[in-house]
């Protein structure tokens, strides 16, 4: 997942990342194919030389030997005026249009079965950055027909819906990188479709772990295996304590 995510980031781009896998992916990209990738963190950190993985998107590592330590508003406004290419998001549930739920599980807002943290900056970043990358394990509890709560807008209910809601034209979900496959979105329908399968995984397996119907790109690719160099860098430099890749 992390290696596939890293390869989605081109050199010279700007990306707002969270902690965990997204951060590992961005660090890996920086150390391999995208040395000139600028990392930003929503609490205000810009361009750190990350000494190790941050624990919080606001901790001091997010601006360790950084280019700027600024405000959360500055980061969000930078996204809003169209400077930031990518953001990485996660969530408890995702639907066919890439909408995300990180607020609650259940059907009664005042009495949820599980209260999740809420949007945080996810809804903002998912609205305002140009391209949204999602990294998530792939199973039927997560890939659902209907979200219990739409926290962060994907393509909402289909083509033109983002624009109609007043979200910036041309922005939206870009790739969903899961434990089984790399998925994208059909240009016309804005629905999720498989772009490449991880080695050894079948379309049927992916569909079985997904409640909604998935499209397929043609020809369907196979996700590149992590190279020895990538794994080496991940283990030695990005995550020496195995916080992410150990799990």
């Amino acid at each position: 997942m992390i290696c596939a995510a890293a390869s989605a980031l081109e050199d010279g781009a700007m990306v707002v990342v969270g902690t965990g896998a997204p951060c590992a992916a961005a660090m890996l990209a920086q150390k391999t194919t995208a040395p000139n990738l600028t990392l930003m963190f929503e609490a205000g950190g810009v361009g750190p030389r990350l000494p190790r993985m941050p624990i919080s998107v606001g901790d001091s590592r997010t601006f360790y030997e950084g280019l700027m330590a600024t405000s959360m508003s500055d980061i969000m406004e930078t996204c809003q005026r169209g400077i930031v290419d990518y953001t990485f998001l996660g969530g408890a549930q995702i639907d066919a249009y890439g909408n995300l739920n990180s607020t609650m599980i259940g059907d009664d807002f005042q009495h949820p079965k599980v209260r999740l943290p809420g949007s945080g900056g996810a809804s903002d970043l998912g609205s305002l950055c140009w391209r949204v990358l999602v990294i998530t394990p792939h199973d039927r509890r997560r890939f659902v027909e209907k979200l219990d709560f739409v926290t962060t807008p994907g393509y909402l209910d289909g083509p033109g819906a983002r624009e109609a809601a007043g979200l910036p034209p041309g922005s939206g979900p870009y790739k969903v990188i899961t434990s089984l496959a790399v998925l994208g979105f059909n240009d016309t329908t804005k629905r999720m479709q498989i772009e490449s399968l991880h080695p050894g995984v079948t379309v049927e397996q992916v569909q079985a772990e997904t409640e909604f119907e998935l499209g397929c790109c043609s020809p369907l690719g196979v996700t590149a295996e992590p190279t020895t160099e990538q794994l080496e860098i991940l283990r030695r430099e990005v995550d020496p304590h195995g916080y992410i890749i150990g799990r």
Binding site: T19, G45, A69, M72, G118
Partner: protein, 330 residues
């Protein structure tokens, strides 16, 4: 789309009422240094709308939050913009046999502690339905502080629309007179009281912050009453040596509390890292309700001040270790 979210407004975005408040607030450069106990007693009232600075577990005003819990304030509203350990702390005032500290929460991020996991007790409090919620996002909540600090009743934003987050918020829609676009607008939020931890302050309340300011520049200006805690109390002459570094001016501030290590167990940039072991202990102990009650009793309710809490968490030796983690992170 609906023109207005159905969430409740926990504070009126009335900029004229706020102007009256600020007009009558004393503005002379008086000595505002006092104990945490006195600051909370004088400036945090039952029923107040409270906001807390920093970023959940980073540069948070832990000592002031402890004291609010210890003095058992009741019926507070709270602004939960990436609220992690701060929210977890305040939840110690709900469902623990001491009334109901939190009553209404504007939510951007609560219950969780980022990658560390969810707080079992915060989940108990929120999932019971005893706390009224209104949904926001980190940016829209920051923007509500910004509107208040600017003295206007609302500010526009491009995001947020089309979601249930909008539907359960109190955001509204306005048509741009130039582009005819429909834009989401959020209402100004003037908290009754805010608590912010800073690196350095003088006796009058002129403050410096190093590292990310998160929302605190605007929050300090939006708050009707502001209690600041600081790592170091510095002289007014020191402040005057570098006026560019002043982030919060004295006229925003009501009380200055000198609390070294005041963000513990949160991270304080350039000072000490977060105590991840202690934060893990919180999350683990909360699973067992009786153990949790004993835990908060030992660390908060039976201590008389924050220094005792620091002692019970390992004191100077632990702080030296966290200082090393902060300054030598590689």
């Amino acid at each position: 789309m609906s023109m207005r979210g159905k969430g409740p407004l926990f504070a009126e975005p009335d900029c004229d009422a706020a102007r009256q408040w600020f007009r009558d607030k004393p503005k002379q450069m008086s000595d505002k240094v006092m104990s945490v106990e006195e600051a909370v007693r004088r400036f945090v009232a039952d029923g107040d709308y409270l906001a807390s600075g920093g970023f959940g577990g980073d540069r948070i005003a832990t000592a002031l939050l402890h004291e609010i819990v210890r003095q058992q304030r009741q019926g507070l509203s709270f602004a939960g913009h990436t609220a992690t350990h701060d929210f977890q702390l305040l939840c110690a005032g709900n469902d623990t046999g001491r009334g109901q500290l939190l009553k209404r929460v504007d939510v951007a991020y609560i219950v969780g502690l980022e990658a560390r996991g969810l707080s079992p007790h915060a989940r108990r409090v929120v999932e019971s339905g005893q706390v009224e919620l209104c949904e926001w996002t980190n940016y829209t909540l920051a923007l509500r502080f910004q509107a208040a600090s600017m003295g206007v009743p609302f500010l526009p934003v491009r995001g947020f629309a089309g979601t249930d987050t909008f539907k359960y918020s109190a955001a509204a829609r306005v048509t741009c007179p130039y582009t005819n676009q429909e834009l989401t607008v959020v209402p100004a939020l003037w908290p009754d009281v805010a608590v912010i931890h800073v690196h350095e302050a003088d006796r009058f309340g002129n403050c410096r912050i190093r590292g990310t300011s998160v929302s605190d520049w605007h929050l300090a200006r939006a708050a009707k009453k502001l209690i600041v805690s600081c790592e170091r109390l510095i002289s007014n002459d020191d402040i005057r040596r570098d006026p560019t570094a002043t982030a919060i001016p004295f006229y925003c501030v009501d009380a200055v509390c000198h609390v070294p290590c005041g963000s513990y167990p949160g991270n304080m940039p350039y000072e000490y890292f977060s105590d991840e072991e202690h934060l893990r202990e919180w999350l683990t102990i909360e699973k067992d309700f009786d153990a949790y009650l004993a835990f908060i009793d030992r660390l908060i309710f039976s201590t008389t001040n924050f220094e005792e809490y620091l002692e019970r968490c390992g004191g100077a030796a632990r702080m030296a270790e966290l200082r090393k983690q902060e300054l030598e992170p590689r």
